[in-house]
Amino acid sequence: MKISYNWIKEYLDLNVKPADLAEKIERTSVEVDDVIKPSDGLKKIVVGHVLSVEAHPDSDHLHICQVDVGEDDPLQIVCGAPNIAKDQKVIVALPGSRIADNVKIKKSKMRGVPSAGMICALQEIGFPEDVVPKKYADGIYVMPADATPGDAVYDYLGMNDSLIDLDVTPNRGDMLSLYGTLHDLSAIYDLPVKFDQPAVQETGAAIADQLTVHADAELAPQYRMRLVKQVKLAPSPMWLQIRLWNAGYRPINNVVDITNYIMLKYGQPLHAFDYDKFSGQDVYVRTAKAGEKLTTLDEGEHDLDDHDIVIADDQKPIALAGVMGGLDTAIADGTVTVAIEAAVFEHDHIRKAAQRHNLHTDASQRFERGVNQAGVQEALDAAAEMMTNLASGEVQAGTVVATDNEPEPAVIDITMSHINAVLGTELSQDQVTHILTTLGCDVAAEGEKLTVTVPVRRNDIHIPADLLEEIARIYGYDDLPATLPTGRMTMGELTPAQKLMRATRHSLEGLGLNQAISYALTTEDKAKMFLMQPSETTKLAWPMSSDHAVLRMNVITGLLDDIAYNSARKVKDVALYEQGRVFYREDGVDRPSEQEYIAGAITGTLLPTAWDLPAQPVDFYQVKGIVEAYLKDMAVNGDVTYVANHDLPEMHPGRTADILVHGHRIGFMGQVHPTIAKQFKIGATYVFELNLQAIIDMPKQENQYDVISRYPAITRDVAMLVDDEITNEQIVALIEKRGGAFLQSVKLFDVYDGVKVPKGKKSLAYTLTYQDKHATLVDDAVTQAFEKVEKRLQDDLGAEIR
């Protein structure tokens, strides 16, 4: 809502600049989006008097005009507007002027004819297209005949006013009007406001004999009409047009303009019907019947149903109540009798109707938020009065009323101690009473208890907390002290799960992976990939796009999307991890369960290639090293094993392992299947995905001290040739089982399956370390143990010791 600074000043004796007023409003009532002075940025734009118009010799639409701009000699200006005519007062942008969008106007030639400036349309000096009167929409604007050539145009057009654009929150419907804003400003500045008192001259016959209105109080708690005859449609006077276009409304004619003006002033939407188009003398407020149709003012056609409130005559709907009037009964050329409607419609119906018919109008916005239910008749009277003054209308005697349920004002009890206890202030009873009184409340005190009667127009105030807000904001939030909560002490501590999640992130970052946060909503295809367990998908009912329509059931695909994004931007080395939730759903249950997962994905090289570090493309074992180190950091209690899995559809069948802790599968790792990688448009990528919740829930080892032996260790190396099918795990398990009491560790130090070994075989070499913690080991004992192991390797695994 754009509110005029000048209009405010007509009612309130304010001595502040527009920018300061806007700041005050923002600090005390509602947000201000902008303060605009329409003439800002414009230069040398004056009134011109067209002395003559001649056709351009080389053009069929240009005219050569001599224009008096208040100087000794007229200017010659070439103008292409179809509506240019001799004797018009027009808007002239002089040579050297600036018009809208910072465009500079210079002397020029148009088809060989010199032109000193430009005759302007309103749009060219910054008026939005939708406020320009229709008559001038496609041509230049014609100024009032009494405008003086050479004067700047701004004051004639209301462009030196400042317009404060309020962003009114849903609770403050009262601020969608001049009067509502004035009430608030009166409290903010502690200044009196003098409101107008409408005086209707009822010169016509009794309305009751000409019109009857019927309404259901549930649909329209208030419904009333006045009737004005013999109106003379005409353009509104300049001052009224200025009020309207500065507020963002297009001036149409005096009758329609009056209804818009009253809405801006009082916040009460009105509708003007052409009474002579009514079928019969009765007007009904009712729900629509199935099959009924209505063409609204904007020429939109609407199918109605029983959720819609309509205004109807004897035959059919004539308006969508509170939203928009019908085209058939609209004010149009030839209208002489006007029925003015002022009403309060039930807000919920209006909100839904506006949504259903996609008609969010200024009227519907105000009815949704609630209008001043104590001011309906006043607004109606003010409109009738203006129709006499501006359209020579003959107001018929009386108002027809269908319903008149003005609500009782809210009465709220509040105590001074409560006010100060909640706000943390030490306000006196006088201060509080004064604030509430300036807001228009009646305050009765009984000891420290205040009984506050709230004006009906403030339909947002019902409970003591609402009054606290009023007191706090008018008192000023800057004056509120700043303290910290006191009272009983509490401990602030992360839970074990939260600590583990933080440790997880730190561990993986330490291992070289960057934290990613990807979208949890993805495509149905991606949601279903890399599944750790069977699950139904969870879909959005109304997604914005198929890219983000289904909740993920894996974290990896998000990371693959990230890698694709990097790859498309020529970033080839990417190492990412993500900690987040996956959403598993059981059939027949609407709500999925949310599980914490952790996943990683690496493509290219983990370490950046450098002058002293040759490129080492990421491989299975590098990622396995990361997973091993991470699980070691988490100290899961139990053997971690890696078991080849050839059956995960999105993974490389020969390069994928399930990750088991104590035999329990907690995740998998390996290379993404090349076909899937291709689908994502990425290169070879290695990934892991772990059920973080499972890791959180597992028992953990505590750190403990183990004595470091003083006695020397002895090592023996063994190299062997085995069949390809024999795994490292089998060999290590056998060595550990048969290694004897002093075997401390087995370490693989070489794997070879190149040309020097027979086909179907591979060569493995291990270092075995022996140590006695309590004595020096005898070489013989080691040799004995070692030979035993060698024999076992030969016997059990068919190894050929080399």
Partner: protein
Amino acid sequence: MSLKDKLTELHDRGLAEIKKSADLKDVNQVRVSLLGKKGPITEVLRGMRDLDAEERPKVGAFANEIRDDLTAALAKRREELENAVLNAKLANEAIDVTLPGTPVAKGEPHVIQQIIDQIEDLFLGMGYQVLSGPEVEEDKYNFEMMNLPKNHPARDMQDTFYITKEILMRTQTSPMQARTLETHDFTKGPLKMISPGVVYRRDTDDPTHSHQFHQVEGLVIDKHITMADLKGTLQVLAHELFGDKFDVRLRPSYFPFTEPSVEADITCFNCGGKGCKVCKNTGWIEVLGAGMVHPNVLKMAGVDPDVYGGFAFGVGPDRFAMLKYGVDDIRNFYLNDVRFLKQFTKKG
């Protein structure tokens, strides 16, 4: 020539030879030739037996002196030469210290995570718990118990991803207010919590909108919590995140679940409060919404609003990060361009 003179001559000649020696091999030869068993000093000493008993010890002492002196000179020369060899070797080993260091594997936390951790740590220090709630919520908690009944006009303010009529992607972290209020045992102490997490809105992604972003909810409920406590708490938060120079101001606003409701602005980073394009010439930037918990919210969660009350606030880490670092496109946070992720490496 007396023995003494001979010795003196030997001494001088010896010192000269030592000085002349060019490498360790030379030094060794000089040592053997001077002090060896067949060397001149031994020979001279052998001639001592011809001396009288009276002279013998004097000459003997002198000879020892000379031998010690030559030995010391040899040692010194050896050390000099050894140092020279070492220095030459080290000089040979010189490297270009300006070549870059070998890369190490190092990952970075996401900038949003860094801000969330910072907020968590601040409030943990003030005795708050950190709680996390479901991202797929019930309409009941996301809206109804937050004082937004089914037909509330403010529901239009947030477009919601519904899954079914009653199940939705949470549009805010506020449902955690209702969830914790329902379960908190006030006999055990006040409720002080923050709840960070992901929220979702039915928006088209563009530089300033994202269908997924983050929020941190804060809630304090006890018997004597004031709006001044809210103001003080938000000040601490702003100082922690942005620095002590930043002021906080409150403005009236509207949220269905708080009354009074406020919006908090902080001093503009870009201009320090003078007014610029970023802050639309106000000198202030809106950073969060807050207020005193609405009595209806307490009542619906089974907490007596006549006894208990307090404040709630909701902050947006995405917005903070955008403001703090001048990030001009919110989508950067969710596309994970490594060149973006690697920009926020400062620790502590």
